[in-house]
């Protein structure tokens, strides 16, 4: 069982929860940019939870499945079809053998996720099936998908094996994407960073009052923010320290950048903010040109929001599992 890549899309890569435990050796985590969308896509197809999925950006890939496949699409709302059949996201779809799944553009959001029952059967590298494009580590020697790639798909467990079908079949039930993929206009919660106090007074105000937009130079390493330049009271000479996804850095250009899943392991720019963990996927889903505003948060508030989201996600994962077992 495999999926052949007919068209790779704009930037499509295999990702899982990321490569943990090797940062001290210079190896970053990589991994999906929208964690809840990844977990839910796997749950919908009946995977254990941590299988690799395809993460695609702005335009999805076109794939041919050699045998019947159960798939789910989450994250950004992508135009998906098999022949003339349009497929919805946030639910399970059973595709007949030989199906060509065409993923087109996105109406909302920036990053979509495709999970397949059985998972993509690529070897784990340092404990993860995530593609680290900078370090050239992981599946496909650490590169994005190319036309002509053939991705093996793992063993399908008996209970959810697809029955023979001639046309795609879509489950009668699905998930409400809203809490996981929501109102793009809401401000993102930002903690003050260690060097926030070093910003000049105007920049301190601008950071929380003004509207920025996502630069087209954004990628899996960082979201770059255009619209306003920020300035320090005086230049800072810092030595390199370990970095994190969600850290807002201010390089000398004055253009703030928020590190993302493929953040480098170390860096030396002033850290003016830290995005609340629950809002990192929201930023990842903003498209180039989309507006971004920040509101100030506290560690207490962001911890509470993180705990609540985990509870909600856990409950939903259990419900999906029950539903699949009773089907």
């Amino acid at each position: 069982m495999n999926a052949s890549v007919l068209r790779p899309g704009l930037l499509t890569s295999l990702q899982d929860g990321g490569r943990q435990g090797y940062a001290a050796l210079g190896v970053g985590r990589a991994g999906v940019m929208d964690g809840p969308a990844w977990r839910l896509a796997n749950a919908l197809v009946g995977n254990a939870g941590d299988e690799a999925v395809l993460e695609f950006t702005l335009t999805g890939p076109t794939l041919r499945f050699s045998r019947p496949a159960i798939i789910a699409l989450t994250g950004a709302t992508v135009d998906a079809r098999v022949d003339q059949h349009a497929l919805p996201g946030w639910t399970r779809c059973v595709l007949p053998a030989g199906s060509v799944l065409q993923l087109g553009g996105m109406r909302h959001g920036c990053r979509g996720y495709l999970a397949v029952h059985g998972g993509f059967a690529v070897a784990a590298v340092l404990g993860s099936r995530s593609t680290d494009m900078h370090a050239r580590l992981g599946p496909l020697d650490g590169r994005m998908l190319r036309a002509g790639d053939v991705l093996a798909i793992g063993e399908q467990k008996a209970p959810s094996s697809p029955r023979t079908t001639d046309t795609p079949r879509v489950s009668r039930w699905g998930l409400d994407p809203r809490p996981w993929f929501d109102d793009m206009a809401r401000p993102l919660a930002l903690l003050r960073g260690h060097h926030y106090a070093q910003l000049d007074a105007a920049s301190q105000r601008t950071l929380f009052d003004a509207s920025f937009h996502v630069s087209k130079d954004s990628n899996r390493t960082a979201s770059r923010l255009d619209g306003h330049r920020l300035a320090l009271r005086q230049p800072l000479e810092l030595i390199s320290e370990a970095t994190l996804p969600g850290t807002m850095q201010l390089p000398p250009s004055g253009q703030p950048i928020v590190l993302q899943a493929e953040a480098p392991v170390t860096g030396g720019y002033p850290r003016i903010g830290q995005l609340a963990a629950v809002d990192l996927p929201r930023l990842a889903q903003r498209r180039p040109g989309d507006a971004v505003c920040f509101r100030e948060t506290t560690l207490d508030e962001s911890l509470q929001r993180l705990a609540r989201r985990q509870e909600r996600l856990q409950r939903l994962l259990c419900r999906i599992e029950e539903r699949l077992e009773s089907a």
Binding site: Q20, G21, Y22, A23, A24, L25, G26, V27, V125, L126, H134, A135, R136, L137, L191, H194, I239, S240, E241, A242, L244, G246, T247, P264, V265, T266, R271, Q274, A276, A277, L299, D300, S302, L303, Q304, L306, A307, Q310
Partner: protein, 239 residues
Amino acid sequence: MALNGAPSIEVLSEEAWLLRFGDTIDAAVNARVHAASRRLQAALPGIECVPAYASVLLRFDPLQWIDIGAATPGQRLHDAVRASLRDAAVVVEDVRVATIPVLYGGEHGPDLHDVASHAGMSEAEVITRHTAADYRVAMLGFAPGFPYLLGLDPALAMPRRADPRLAVAAGSVAIGGLQTGIYPQALPGGWQLIGRTPLALFELASTPPSLLQPGDRVRFRAIDAREYERLATTGGGDA
């Protein structure tokens, strides 16, 4: 900075703290960083420790370590960190010493000539000084297995190139400012290339995959072209 040299703690995010031991690039500070990092990693196995020049990043699962909603949510982690830094009983393995064979100059070290002119000495003198020093892996970063080494003879310091190379060969030994390092794979880079080692710095098949670990001591040994070829075919092995 607290008493008895305990680090200051900066809360970076819901899932990360930075323990800061200083704010300069300094061998003594860096040695404390690595001693603390090894201790913490041994005492708190679920927590990822990432040492840098003067700090250790702790990355943890907040749902496991932070008492969300409590009056002092991070107290448990704080106590665990303080206890493991204080606890002399935590066994820390000896610092390893790695010897890196290097073929200096020629096509493998195209900037050796410039480094020598910049330092006002002969190429041979640069090699003598580069191999005489004791280095320490201050941190790994930039790329998997790339060591930032402290301990360069200040006479050899040289700024980065104005026009970085698009591709530096794997194994290139280089000088960037007051530091020296080794490119583990072909990468773009702006450091001055003075030689090349036939050893593989980062191999996925090895455990751990990086030849050098944070805090390791490192020495360089000059080799000739014949030994370079021999080590390149046998995969080295004397480091």
